[in-house]
Symmetry: C2
Subunit: 304 residues, 2 copies
């Protein structure tokens, strides 16, 4: 067996964070508290997995990661705002996020509501700043991000109302942003409509896997451990939603594949489950998985 | 003196509301409560003045109002979300809006937060649906709406933090959406960069006038009555912000100019203050003001 090394994630993550820092307003002037809260919410760490998916998707279709840098920032800003609002007292009432005070706990509930609002807006400003060579690209990006921005709220609302439809809740609450990341990356990278579609499907699996893993680790999987396990043993290339096969755990992790330090331990565990088999996965999805370091192929069957 | 009749506002308003109803999700399915709250927030009346400015701006530059229908919906969705979040207990804690329960009072605080979030997202979905003939148009619309969406939150945050910079607070909190409405309308209508700029400046005056009037009626003008009055007596054609001349009250309203029933009495009073003098106002701004029914010209000097 061989593990691919994945994209140079350390550098890529730095590039994403530099671009985010440039997009975020400086914490001064009349709206200084708002600006500081926005920075607090975005700059407090995070795995940046969604922007990494976005950049990897651009490369997977033969484009440059740079083409997708602004969409990658957009998806991270959108993700950040959802966390700010999720933590509010009227929502999950979390006073901590990534080991430090959540935005509302630090800046007050009113400023946190506004910071979330402004971060969502800033995501679309980032899209406006995407350099595009073909006129249809920006329209595509806007449509993808807009639909995902509505979708993610739908998933949260369904969960809030006690929906038992796990495919709906996970599909929207979590997977929508992964799907949008991959589709925007592929779009910005000049991919064909078929490639955009395929990478979106791949990212749907990834997003569902991500959320299942999250809930399993938290011990609150709505499927329950027994039900979730079979899902984790299935190949990721089939068309899912959550109830369908999406990833497998059959192969042990290779010690050589140890991720670099920036990868959160949870992501490392997730990668062990999320194994792509070249035989039944489209080439561009294999390419995306390789760039993320999430691809393990049978010896002798795979290229670089 | 003569008053122009303005655009056929009754029909135009119906057209806007039909388009909004089509954009809003139906209140069913897993996210039914969210969808119902979104509809509650948007369909609860309102003067629709921002979308009217948007459509009038498209016509003022020689385009068709239809070209700007989706941007007009976008600006109204954005405005609606700000009201939903403004009313929250952690913000203004208002249980009523337009004579009925505010969104949070009706659907709960959590659903209201999410409904506001989804309405902002839907504004950008509306932009994605704008039919454009020229590739640069969508980029322009996205940039205008994105910046205004950030700006309006900045204004609210500055007010929240007790800023005494009225030009900043009013300029962002209120005028940003008027400016974006006019600029998007002019852009969608095929206006030149200079026209977009001029109509944006015009709308800045209108937005500032609108907010001053609001605060004066509420008795909580940050300028105080004495300071606000001179502002209201100045011609609207000069480059402002709030501290500069923006509109005048010197001429009494003509009985012939009585607005149709749908115009809120407050708008009617505002129109009395917001008087455009043809001599010192660019033609396209005059044209916008005429379409809104906010233009009074000296007899004999003006065309249609």
């Amino acid at each position: 067996m061989c593990y691919t090394g994945g994209m140079d994630s350390e550098n890529t993550k730095r590039q994403i964070e530099a671009a985010l820092a440039k997009l975020l307003p400086s914490p001064e002037g009349e709206a200084a508290a708002l600006h500081a809260a926005m920075r607090w919410a975005v700059e407090g760490g995070g795995k940046r997995v969604r922007p990494l998916v976005c950049l990897a998707a651009a490369e997977a279709v033969g484009g440059a990661a740079d083409d997708a840098l602004m969409p990658a920032c957009a998806i991270e800003l959108l993700h950040s705002y959802t966390l700010v609002h999720d933590d509010l007292p009227a929502m999950d009432n979390d006073t901590e996020r990534r080991g430090r005070p959540s935005t509302w706990a630090k800046f007050g509930e009113d400023t946190a509501i506004l910071a979330g609002d402004a971060l969502q807006a800033l995501a679309f400003v980032a899209l406006a700043k995407t350099p595009v060579s073909c006129p249809g690209v920006r329209a595509g990006l806007l449509s993808i991000l807009g639909e995902a921005a509505v979708g993610v709220v739908r998933g949260q609302a369904a969960e809030l109302s006690g929906s038992k439809d796990v495919a709906y809740v996970y599909g929207h609450k979590t997977a929508d942003l992964f799907v949008a990341a991959a589709r925007m990356g592929a779009t910005a990278g000049g991919g064909t409509a078929a490639q955009v579609e395929r990478l979106g499907t791949f990212a749907l699996h990834l997003g569902l896997a991500f959320q299942h893993e999250d809930d399993l680790l938290d011990g609150d999987s709505p499927l329950g451990r027994a039900e979730a396990e079979p899902t984790r043993r299935s190949p990721c290339s089939s068309a899912c939603p959550a109830t369908r096969p999406s990833f497998r755990t059959s192969l042990p992790a290779s010690p050589r594949a140890r991720p670099s330090d920036w990868i959160h331990p949870r992501m490392w565990r997730l990668r062990r489950f999320f194994i792509v088999r070249q035989a039944d996965t489209p080439t561009d999805s294999i390419s995306l998985a390789r760039r993320l370091g999430w691809c393990r192929c049978a010896r002798g069957t795979g290229g670089a």
